[in-house]
Amino acid sequence: MNAALLFATTGSVLETLPVTLRDLVTGWLPEPLRWLVNSLVGVGTLLAVIGLLFAYLTLAERKILGRIQNRPGPNRTPIPFINLRFFGLAQPFADGVKAITKEDVVPDGADKVLHFLAPVALLAFSIMTLGVIPYGRHLVLLEFDAAVLYFFAAGAATELAVFMAGWASRNKYSLLAAMRALAQLISYELPLLLSVVPAVMLAGSLALPAIVEAQGGWSYGFLPQWHVFTPWGFAGFIIFFISALAESNRSPFDLPEAESELIAGHLTEYSGFKYALFFMAEYFGMCALSGMGVTLFLGGWQAPLPFLEFIPSYVWFGVKLLSLLLVFIWIRATFPRLRMDQLTRFAWKFLVPLALINLGTAAFWSLTAGWSGPLQFVRWAVALALVLVPFTLLGRRLSAGVAPRTYRYAT
């Protein structure tokens, strides 16, 4: 058997491995029950994988932040009973145990029901958003015709949970933070949605598997036809990514939790397990938005090069998801927090117009799909100009009146 064929067969076996495994377990069940058990197995696997990803993402975040700040990060928690440190890989579980065993303090006069409901609702909505993302060629839990809309509908509901948390705490910092969070989330939902529209437009579908399929193939034999490798796709991806940062309350847009101004924002009055739920929901939201970004712009589960296709699709998805999450962490380690007016100004005066113009660029791109030969260059040039000129002009307007900072004591 030659190598290529071997690769192809192992590839296809690995590709369907999750489905095969599931069918091995549930194949003997009668039909309605089988569907139910299949769904439960799917949900359970998803939660287990994402939960583990969450646990180690917190560790990776702390380790990477540490490395960037000249320190090792958490590395001391031993594995129980064998007392082996092993780079602190047991740290997330120690954190979990600590969160569970801590006292759950509810402020006197707080709205007890809402105070309890807020983290639960937030986590529930974040998990709901995870359901529609295609994790592999055969790995989609919820197949909706309007999956993109579902994703953003469930994501919009998280704002409500943040408000509930802030209001129920009976703490003025919490309430202020909740109002801030609402302003921020609403402001950035617009560019987020607008940046998604071109991808939907080019694929001609709101179903995520179809959007991934539309990004298959390679132009010129090597350049993947992922949306991010087109001018409008690149701009859209950047807008999407920035908005995703803001939507998931990540630095540099973590104003609702700005500890220098608002203690811990809407999390001020939360402790113990409820706080852990908030934390989990934040990371789940981050994973969901990253997964969405991967699906819409980075080709989903498609392999980057033709000869790498033997690696199963879910591995590619995982690699892309992890690299996006690492960029989230990298950005958190780099940028200082914005001010509230800067935040909203950036959204309304920069991202929204850019996203609107990007819509036009994408329309141009899809209309000129038939151009070939030298016209290809014209297509690229026009599209690039349509992206770069507004970017430069809007950027100039955004930074108008801001003199370059002079540092008196630093060089």
Binding site: R67, I68, Q69, N70, R71, P72, W330, T334, G395
Partner: protein
């Protein structure tokens, strides 16, 4: 162009991240309990008593229980009781020694004044900082057995300063010996003269020729610690 600064910032943090794996200058954290931090030589914390000899610390303490440090100590954390008898010091001269020398480390503020005022170079600053104990009283009150540390230890923690002190002590001892010899010679000469001239009492040889106890005010002897303090 807008965003170039952001990219520069990202490059800086990325460099630090990669550098932390191979460049010690970018990875300065010491994992403390396992790895002791390398303390700078000038680091000093809590006083200790210098003894000449590691094998017999109590017998070779430089301290002569003059109680200057006890009087000068701002928080008054030093307690000294003089001995009734005299023991020969390192130079072989009989001296009073501290029967009790105790420092309450819960009170001591590491101000180094006791070191500054000591005319015998008998008390010096240590480098310890792990002095936490589980009791509030006994363990924090250090007696002379706990305080005494040999001169070799002093050389280990503050080599430059200890060398200066040793040189000075040696010079002093030499000067004292010369003086004693001169005095002895003078005595001999006087005795000879007295023998020659019938009898008259010999002049008493001054044995205290070293710097004055006032420290800073004392003109002649160089003060290595205060110089180093000014530099560091």
């Amino acid at each position: 162009m807008l965003g170039s600064g952001l990219l520069q910032g990202l490059a800086v943090t990325a460099k630090n991240f990669v550098g932390s794996f191979h460049d010690p200058a970018r990875y300065t954290t010491v994992e403390y309990p396992e790895v002791k931090p390398a303390l700078p030589e000038a680091y000093r914390n809590f006083p200790f008593l210098v003894s000449e000899n590691a094998t017999d610390p109590m017998g070779t303490l430089r301290c002569v229980a003059c109680q200057i440090c006890e009087k000068e100590c701002p928080p008054q954390c030093i307690y000294i009781e003089k001995s009734k008898d005299k023991k020969p010091d390192a130079a072989g001269k009989p001296q009073i020694y501290p029967a009790i020398f105790a420092i309450d480390t819960s009170v001591c503020m590491s101000c180094q004044i006791c070191v500054e005022v000591c005319p015998f170079d008998a008390i010096k600053m240590d480098q310890v900082f792990e002095i936490a104990t589980t009791t509030r009283f006994e363990a924090l009150l250090l007696n002379r057995e706990q305080l005494a540390k040999p001169n070799s230890y002093y050389h280990g923690i503050h080599p430059t300063e200890a060398a200066e002190v040793d040189a000075r002590l040696a010079a002093d001892r030499k000067a004292a010996e010369e003086k004693a010899q001169a005095a002895a010679a003078a005595k001999a000469a006087a005795a000879a003269a007295a023998a020659a001239k019938a009898a008259s009492p010999a002049p008493k040889a001054p044995d205290e020729s070293r710097r004055s106890p006032q420290g800073e005010g004392g003109p002649p002897t160089p003060k290595p610690q205060s110089e180093r303090g000014a530099v560091s």
